[in-house]
Amino acid sequence: MPISRRDLLKGAASGGLLLASGLPTSANATMSTKLPPNAVGLLYDATLCIGCKSCVVNCKTKNCEPGGALYQEGMTKPPYETKGPGNSGQWDETQELTGKTLSVIKVYKNGTCQTKDAEVNGYSFFKQQCMHCITPACASVCPGGAFRKDPDNGSVYYIASKCIGCRYCQLACPFGLPRYEWDRAWPEVRKCQLCRHRTTKGGITACAEFCPTGATIFGRVTDLREEAQRRLALKPGDEYQFPIQTVHSRDRQPRKVAKYVPKVYGLTEVGGTQNILLSGVSFEHLGFRPYLKNQALPELTWHYIAKIPWVFAGVFIGGTAIYKITHRKEGDKP
């Protein structure tokens, strides 16, 4: 049967609409592979960390303020992890990142655990939280646009009102960091947001502010990278004045430099991250998978998406052609 004029127009209109929407507009912060102009982040030095968990406690407390990542209207106290035996809700046993905990200290243990930052018969602490990738996979895959990368300071933040709860971000994140509120009927995805509610007012992240040893420091990513390289260039046993709270802080702590793994994690992995790490034990022991390449992950999907308009065009043209050919022989039989 012949294509009616009506459905030809219908097909063209909808095809055109989708074609137009398929045109690449990757000039937004989410897909950019460059460090934003005022990119800030954290440098975590595992050799300075003493596992006091001040960062965990203060992260939770400060993010329960209005604008914070854990804030909910009407909350009277921070959300505690209370699932363990004997916990009557009076204390917070943070063991793992969850919908209630944005940052956690974990430990690497080996053998007798005698020597700090030793891979064999030693132990090391590890601060786990969102890495704030330069090209975040979570933001690129979110169908609702709930995860956004700030074009100025680069923090990857969350807009709950846009979230549909599909958890694609959990699959996409190469570090497995976004966590979900499984136990709520109206759940949110939770992860560190670099204390946006404090940094936009000129402050620094809570974890950096309350870290007593300077294991976590806040600053511009370019400065943090320099500081990290500076530390790697020192000899183990040298004394160094480690800054506390921020990378340019005057408040310093004299300490002997430990033996680092000669690598700063986060310079290039998955296209680079704004939070970088130094450690005395290999990063694999801390859970960073060795197979992660230096390519920004959203590019892998974009290769496919960029082809979609061509598919539209191809099928539309090809299909119409086939139809014409197969139906020309039959004349105008309905």
Binding site: I50, G51, C52, K53, S54, C55, V56, V57, N58, W91, D92, E93, Q95, E96, V104, I105, K106, V107, Y108, K109, C113, Q114, K116, Y123, S124, F125, F126, Q128, F210, P212, T213, Q253, P254, R255, E284, H285, L286, G287
Partner: protein, 379 residues
């Protein structure tokens, strides 16, 4: 304990009842970590006829350690020196002085060779043959070397005597040294602290008198019952450390609420002592520096006290990660059990369905196989 022996000294003990006396000895035994029944032994030793002689030498000291002893209540000082021991020489407490005191010391050493307890407080300068501390015309070094070989037990009281203390601080201009360093090869009990809790000394002395041997000591000569654990492990503010509640400045909110003083430079994490357990001055729980709000400065620990700046962060020593940390990366190999079961199930279903399909379907003959079904015209 024989009734006669006790009644003989009852008067001297201030009329204390036998029951109370045994109670005191039991409490003391408990403080030493000794088993039940040891109290009796101690009581026996105390009321035995002869009071054991003690010679107390003082060198580069501030007298703080003696002052600390003066603050003990059980036994009170007068009971101690009048009834329990024979303090044959003490520069602070002797009524006599000068040649009389020195003569009494020489006589006691002569009489009690191999039996007296030598307690030393203060460090000994060694520069220029030790002339920077002289008593009665003799250098401290000479006095020590005259006295120590004849002692039954040597106890270094206080940090100065144990490892040099404040006397050896900074550039150590007099080359002050602790007693163990000057008596190599001899067993010296050290009771470090500035000052140490007097009961650490008293318990050690009474233990020796009771059992005729010294309590278990660590490699630095410190009795393990008092110096076996770091302060950080016994501190009443440890939960605040574990939960990250730190005082950031003197007088801030967390300081007023009793938060952990690590950030203010507390050296508890690298200092061995029992201060949080027994406190000072017997006025209740929390009567020790951290308890009243000032960080510990590691007074008993060589290399920490009088060495590391007061408000510098401590090296957290021997921190075995408590079980409250979860593993950074369990790296569990293989396949988890739930997934394995699911895979077995799914795989089994597939194999089963496939097998059943092939076995039942492939052999069947289809009657209409070669018929062309013509009723499929467009409708």
């Amino acid at each position: 304990m024989e009734t006669d022996a006790f009644s003989a000294v009852r008067e001297q003990l201030g009329g204390i009842s036998r029951r109370d006396f045994i109670k005191f000895c039991t409490v003391l035994a408990a403080g030493l970590g000794l088993p039940l029944g040891a109290g009796e032994q101690i009581a026996q030793a105390v009321v035995s006829a002869r009071r054991p002689p003690v010679i107390w030498l003082s060198f580069q000291e501030c007298t703080g350690c003696v002052e600390s002893l003066l603050r003990s209540n059980h036994p009170s000082l007068e009971h101690l020196i009048l009834d329990l021991i024979s303090l044959d020489y003490s520069e602070t407490l002797s009524a006599a002085s000068g040649h009389q005191a020195e003569a009494a010391k020489a006589a006691s050493i002569q009489e009690n060779k191999g039996k007296f307890i030598l307690v030393v407080d203060g460090a000994i300068p060694t520069k220029d043959k030790g002339i920077y501390c002289k008593i009665g015309g003799k250098t401290a070094l000479e006095i020590l070397n005259e006295t120590a070989p004849h002692a039954g037990a040597i106890i270094a009281m206080g940090s100065c005597a144990s490892w040099g203390g404040v006397a050896a601080a900074g550039s150590n201009p007099t080359e002050a040294k602790g007693i163990p360093e000057l008596l190599p090869g001899k067993k010296v009990v050290t009771i470090p602290g500035c000052p140490p809790n007097p009961y650490n000394l008293l318990s050690t002395v009474l233990y020796y008198l009771t059992f005729n041997k010294l309590p278990e000591l660590d490699e630095k000569g410190r009795p393990k019952f008092a110096y076996g654990r770091i302060i950080h492990e016994n501190c009443e503010r440890r939960p605040h450390f574990d939960a990250g509640r730190f005082a950031m400045q003197f007088g801030d909110e967390m300081h007023r609420r009793g938060g952990c003083l690590y950030k203010l430079g507390c050296k508890g994490p690298e200092t061995y002592a029992n201060c949080p357990s027994i406190g000072f001055g017997e006025t209740g729980v929390g009567t020790w520096p951290v308890g009243v709000g000032h960080p510990c400065f590691g007074c008993s620990e060589k290399g920490v006290g009088f060495n590391t700046p007061l408000y510098t962060l401590a090296n957290v020593k021997d921190l075995t990660p408590p079980v409250f940390f979860s593993e950074a990366f369990p790296n569990t190999p293989g396949v988890s059990s739930g997934i394995k079961s699911l895979a077995m199930g799914a795989g089994g279903l597939v194999v089963g369905a496939a097998g059943a399909a092939v076995l039942t379907g492939m052999g069947k003959k289809d009657e209409g196989e070669n018929e062309k079904d013509s009723s499929h015209k467009e409708g």
